[in-house]
């Protein structure tokens, strides 16, 4: 089987029923999709398959042979964050960070299909994603800002305080 993962063609050795999540994390070392509930309920493993968000934990890799898979690693790099990643940073939309990968991928697809800053529509688009820090308000703030095409000054937060520790863990 073959997949294109973040623009790079990959040969897959896993059996067809192996989950895409397992293939990404264990076979290819792509670790942004998180193994949370592994039953489709938390959203942390969400990746884009041919541009649409999909639970990697529910997807047998044999069902998507030949597809293009995009994960957070394919969105931006620490020194060149995507617009959505900048919005999440500026709005402090990540707390513990476990749900962030899935939120980003679902939001990326939401904006790509023409999603606006309508908070109810964003909630519906992210309905399958659980944030156990309960940081939903700032996540929705960030997605709305990115959907509007806001520009972000990453030296300060949305609350106006100085941004420190950007892009790393200290």
């Amino acid at each position: 089987m073959k997949l294109t993962v973040n623009g790079r063609p990959r040969e897959i050795e896993g059996a067809p029923l192996t989950t895409l999540l397992h293939v990404l994390r264990e076979e290819l070392g792509v670790t942004s999709p998180k193994a949370g509930c592994e039953q489709g309920g938390c959203g942390a493993c969400t990746v884009l398959v041919d541009g649409e968000p999909q639970r990697a934990c529910l997807t047998p890799v044999g069902a998507i042979d030949g597809s293009e898979v995009t994960t957070v690693e394919g969105l931006g790099a620490p020194e060149s964050l995507s617009a959505l990643q900048q919005a999440f940073t500026h709005h402090y939309a990540a707390q513990c960070g476990f749900c962030t990968s899935g939120m980003l991928m679902a939001a990326e697809a939401y904006i790509a299909r023409g999603g606006t800053d309508d908070r109810e529509a964003i909630q519906e688009a992210l309905a399958g994603h659980v944030c156990r820090c309960t940081g939903y308000v700032k996540i929705i703030d960030a997605v709305a800002a990115a959907a509007r095409g806001d520009a972000f000054d990453l030296t300060v937060t949305a609350a106006g305080t100085a941004m420190t520790n950007l892009g790393g863990v200290s």
Binding site: A15, P16, L17, T19, E38, G40, R55, T59, A63, A127
Partner: protein
Amino acid sequence: MTQATEVLLPTSADEAVALFGDGSGVTIVAGGTIVLPEITHGRIAPTRALMLSGAGLDTLDAGGSTVTIGAALPVARLAELAQDVEALAQCALGVADYEIRRQGTVGGNVCAGAGRDAPRGDLQGPLLALDASARSIGPDGETTEPVADFLGHRAGRLLLDLSFEKPAASAFAAIEYPHTHEYTVLAVTGVRTAGGEVRLAATGLADHGTRLPSAEAAAGDPDAAGAAAVADVKLGDDALASAWYRERTLPVLVRRVLSKLEEAR
């Protein structure tokens, strides 16, 4: 575990039927949203898995007076029927979330057995009210039968498609979902046919959904129909609601559906 599984990847409906054979020892994987967690968490270990993703069973034909839905059609695509069968589209939009609706299939939803915590099969209600025909294969070969009969022996069969006549009007009412990923606590669907017949069905019940014949007989009087509906169902306690609560809510949902059908005249 999956290494030992023989995986069958048919590329046509005919090939899927041939590979399914009499169904013995075959685990059907359509969208994967129900089966994959069972495998991941070690609750099942398939010996032969029939993956339907490339079998061409994801068809939707609503061009004429009959609608035919391929068993592997993603649930999300039922939204395309919003004009013709509002109740089915509305019910489908209540299933799980954006991602799961795109991946889970109509066949998987209809064929799901009762879950550990609650009934499943949200789409059964609208399909029962539409008096859909289910075409499936099993040990006895291919059968086309009312979906009500199919639900009684669906385990071990491969559902191919569902078809029904477009109704004159349809309506759906459900208890609000406690969470995106919960199944229907209780839902009622009503259909009025071109000939004026009113059919009612409920989901959120033990094992699978059911028609409400006593309520149908009293459909001209919503209060009487609501009260009569309770005799048509077997209500249970589960993680989502008690039988006590469902018994008091069912008449309300029946009245709402009949009221919506009346408004649609």
